[in-house]
Amino acid sequence: MTKSRNLFLVPYLAWMVLFVVAPIVLIAYYSLFDVDGRFTFDNYTKFLSPVYLQMTLNSFWYALLITVFSLLVAYPTAYFLTRTKHKSLWLLLIIVPSWINLLLKAYAFIGIFGTYGFANKVLELAGIGTKQILFTDFSFVFVSVYIFIPFMILPVYNALDELNPSLIYASRDLGASPWLTFRKVVFPLTLEGVKAGCQAVFIPALSLFMITRLIAGNRVITLGTAIEQHFLVTQDWGMGSAIAVVLIIAMAVIMILTGSGKRGALHGSQ
């Protein structure tokens, strides 16, 4: 056992040292210099100003919203998918749209959500009348969920697919209602998949950018947007790196809090 563990660790650790640890060291190093290349902790004190704290709060709030809605949409989708005839084909077809360039899809959404777009035509026909959809919180969360949904569906689907159907039958035979069966049997057994999905959505959602401009019209400013600005516009790599360091620490804290199981607990059922 010990021998084989070392073997698996070799390629993985090599990757980690080269492409994770080295960049982190670089970022941490850069975060300690100001625009003029002087050594300073100013970047971190600046992060504590109301503007950046507000932005951090925004980022977490929107990432949370996006994760919750992704899960709400993805779980039933994954559940129904496992019961279709050609289930793995349908699953692949869920992923295929994400292979079309994001900028193009965003442009399409601008067209669909625009004042004279398809969505508003439907609203008008329904008698509701034209509404501003583009550049609102709604469109931002909607498109973000659209982007992240495959990352949530996949792990949940995999967890559901492995579920032994006899467990469900047993629970039904014992007189449990479908809801009770879901709560007490199905959901706990798919918890690992849900966790993996939430991590794969929440973590990148924290640093969303681009969509914040294209779909939210810069009405939503996240930490990702700020980093983007500092690296590409201000060329203040120090401040950009400092925000990145904070993000990485935040992510580590989330990982520890949602840590995959307690010591020794290997199954979701325990």
């Binding site: 625009v35 810069n218 600005q229 500092h230 516009v233 201000t234 060329q235 203040d236």
Partner: protein, 357 residues
């Protein structure tokens, strides 16, 4: 296990086939040969036919690579590892690249066509005597508005944007210099102002604009305004020309308080390998007939006087895009403010974006 192995083998085989196809295509285009010129330009910022003509004339094969912002381009050139022979940065980026010693001097003796450039576009503050850069296109920043949607406004003043009647009906371009510049200009200050009080005043004034601002967007602003998503927008003249071509209700104006005039110039970065070829290319692009065709394709304003004369009257006579010299005199080029000041401009712009109604 077998299924997995199958998948990996088919991926490898497919990649090998595709790699071979790429290799053949590259070879047929001559990209793998020795005599090449690498151009680093904005996407779709040149008539592709002209590249083919240049290749035919000189026997040089052009490799065309694109960027989407001055800053990203500068980072790439600064880090090295590339062999760009030509790039097309904007004015403030040129002065910054000069400062960072990323540019090679241009030998005017090798550019007989340089005489066609209008003298008022030569010898500008960001590059005295054009030692490092040759004009490619130029333009202004102003207001695009939809005649059908804005009522009586003609936006001869920036302050008209603050009219409460335009509630939630204005789009701004996502640029700190452009938006802060507009705030400063509307108060009668220079858009290169470094006075802290003036800057704070401009930011407070911009905050008051928030209720009118529908969104702060990037290149998609063209699509949005042409689509009548908003009544007015603050944009670059090149974008304005494209929108007006699509939507006849749109008009463009540069407010009288003053605004920005910008230039995209051709430069030879220090990464260049084919300096001779780079000069040949610049001279080729300066040829009046070539420049005229390029202008018709790209749609921006050309600084080439001889080329302008070749263009039809409805382009060359359009005062909105080729304003008379007395008007352009009121316009300012962005100074290189230095990293610290630029950073401050961006902080203020960020605060404005975070400001909620």
């Amino acid at each position: 296990m077998k299924q997995l192995v199958n998948l990996f083998v088919s991926v490898l085989v497919l990649s090998a086939v595709l790699l071979f196809a790429t290799y053949r295509l590259n070879a047929s285009e001559g990209y793998s040969g020795g005599n090449t010129l690498t151009i680093f330009n904005w996407g779709d910022y040149i008539d592709p036919d002209l590249i083919a003509e240049f290749e035919e004339q000189t026997g040089i094969t052009v490799i065309y690579q694109t960027f989407d912002s001055n800053e990203a381009m500068m980072t790439k050139i600064e880090q090295g590892g590339t062999t760009f022979d030509i790039s097309v940065p904007s004015d403030y980026a040129i002065s910054k690249m000069k400062e960072d010693r990323l540019l090679l001097p241009i030998d005017h003796a090798k550019l007989p066509n340089l005489k066609h450039i209008d003298p008022r576009f030569m010898n500008l503050s960001f590059d005295p005597d054009n030692a490092y850069s040759i004009p490619y296109f130029w333009g202004t920043v102003g207001v695009v508005y939809n005649r059908e949607l804005v009522g009586d406004h003609e936006f001869t003043s920036w302050n008209e944007l603050w009219d409460p009647a335009l509630h939630n009906d204005i789009l701004l371009v996502d640029g700190a210099r452009e938006v802060m510049g507009m705030g400063l200009n509307s108060l009668g200050y220079s858009l290169n102002d470094k006075n802290e009080e003036h800057l704070q005043e401009a930011k407070r004034k911009l905050n008051e604009l928030t209720p009118n601002v529908k969104a702060i967007v990037g290149d998609e602003i063209k699509m949005l305004l042409a689509n009548e998503e908003a009544a007015a927008g603050v944009v670059w003249s090149g974008d304005a020309a494209e929108m007006m071509w699509e939507n006849e209700n749109l008009d463009y104006v540069v407010p009288e308080e003053g605004s920005n005039v910008w230039f995209d110039n051709m430069v030879i970065p220090t990464t260049a390998k084919n300096i001779e070829g780079a000069h040949e290319f610049i001279n080729f692009m300066l040829d009046p007939e070539i420049a005229a065709r390029n202008t018709e394709y790209v749609g921006y304003s050309t600084p080439n006087a001889a080329a302008l004369a070749l263009l039809p009257e409805d382009i060359s006579g359009d005062e909105r895009f080729y304003p008379a010299p007395e008007l352009t005199d009121k316009l300012e080029v962005y100074d290189n403010l230095g990293k610290r000041m630029l950073s401050h401009y961006n902080e203020l712009f960020l605060e404005f974006k975070m400001h909620r109604k």
